[in-house]
Amino acid sequence: MDASARRKQLSAAIRRAAGGDRAALRLIYDETAAKLFGICLRILNDRSEAEDVLQEVYLAVWQKAGAFDETKASPITWLVAIARNRAIDRLRGSGLVRRAEPIEAAETVSDPAPLAEEMLVSSQQQARLASCLEELDERTAKAIRSAFIGGSTYEELARAWNVPLGTMKSLIRRGLAKLRACLER
């Protein structure tokens, strides 16, 4: 099954889950749990917290499935947003010490196609994001990737990169503005 067919299948499963179909929730879980667990674990850096948040994520999916609008969001980005929000809220509320990754560790993407396949988003959309990030200077793009993946605050990023808070804020804010302009083109 190609990415587009899997995306449609996942959207259909969310619709069925909204109607109370547990088998549909199970299907969503089977398709996405490893991805979402990876995301939670990366943010929380604590396996038992991540496991707990993962449960909350699928309970939230079960409760909120009726609000999913496939004309506005890809199923996977909708799920990723729920997982990241839960994990970030847990992180902020927990007092867990989470060190943002140093600048060297932030990933770069050269070929977006396989990632699009894995993420079930359109390869066009993924390519657009990659090319818009490439238009930023490398440091800015790294800061944005690192912030997204780690769910780190400005303060944590500034500490990890050993730059003043104001510098980190400016870097990311200018980057977001440029990214916004590019993504809209």
Partner: protein, 238 residues
């Protein structure tokens, strides 16, 4: 922020929306952003834009298999909790769909409440109860006032709503720790006064909850809410 003038993202809170999705805000700032999502549709659209576009970055995170018993734990926690049943397309699962005239909502709501209080108090020996039925945080859907003296309840849409013929709105009284009891259908376009059935009158008390659900024409076929609950709120003594 000395640098905010340089980003070009200030309008409509676009910068905060981006920062919220990126995940760089602290806990208090996140709560403020979430309140704004509920109240400001332009801001919510901005958040949706970033979630959809930046979401692709999650591809950078390698998947990791969760523990084998994770699904069983989730399933156990589903318990009796059923999601709100999906309706055609899920479009009208919120009052926003019914709301066609976004006119000075808060002013009208305040006027409605004042009128209700007056209505409820006029003949009453027992103190009236009022409820604000919210659609979400800070978003009022209906105002209601119950007059225990004559067993009536008046409910008013907080903003001008428009009905549509395929669905009806049904009002429910939910006593603390009990299941919902129907108080009948209500009109999304204008205030309506309902007679509270005699057997339910003892439950018209503070801490009982009023809820409005979307139902098929003619009301719930099962005697329990079958469609999404679009607004609810607790009764309180005036």
């Amino acid at each position: 922020m000395s640098d905010s003038g340089t980003t070009g993202l200030e309008e409509h809170g676009a910068l905060v929306a981006a920062e919220y999705v990126l995940g760089v805000l602290n806990a208090a700032e996140r709560r403020a952003a979430e309140r704004r999502i509920a109240e400001d549709s332009a801001f919510a659209a901005e958040v949706a834009f970033w979630e959809e576009r930046l979401g692709g970055l999650a591809a950078l995170v390698p998947p990791i298999a969760p523990p084998a018993d994770a699904w069983a734990r989730i399933e156990a926690r589903l318990g009796g909790a059923r999601p709100r049943p999906a309706q055609s397309g899920g479009l009208w699962q919120s009052l926003a769909f019914w709301r066609t005239l976004a006119i000075g909502a808060s002013a009208l709501a305040a006027a409605c409440l004042a009128g209700l209080i007056y209505l409820a108090q006029a003949p009453g020996l027992e103190p009236p109860l009022v409820a604000k039925l919210d659609e979400g945080p800070g978003k009022s859907g209906f105002f209601a006032a119950a007059n225990p003296s004559d067993g009536t309840l008046t409910i008013v849409p907080a903003v001008a709503l428009t009905g549509e013929q395929q669905h009806a709105l049904e009002l429910w009284l939910i006593p603390a720790g009990d299941k919902p009891h129907s108080l009948g259908l209500i009109d999304p376009e204008k205030p309506i006064k309902v007679e509270i059935p005699a057997e339910l009158r003892p439950y018209v008390t503070a801490d009982s909850v009023l809820a409005v659900s979307v139902e098929p024409p003619g009301g719930s076929p099962t005697g329990q809410p079958t469609g999404p609950v679009i607004a609810n709120g607790k009764l309180a003594l005036l």
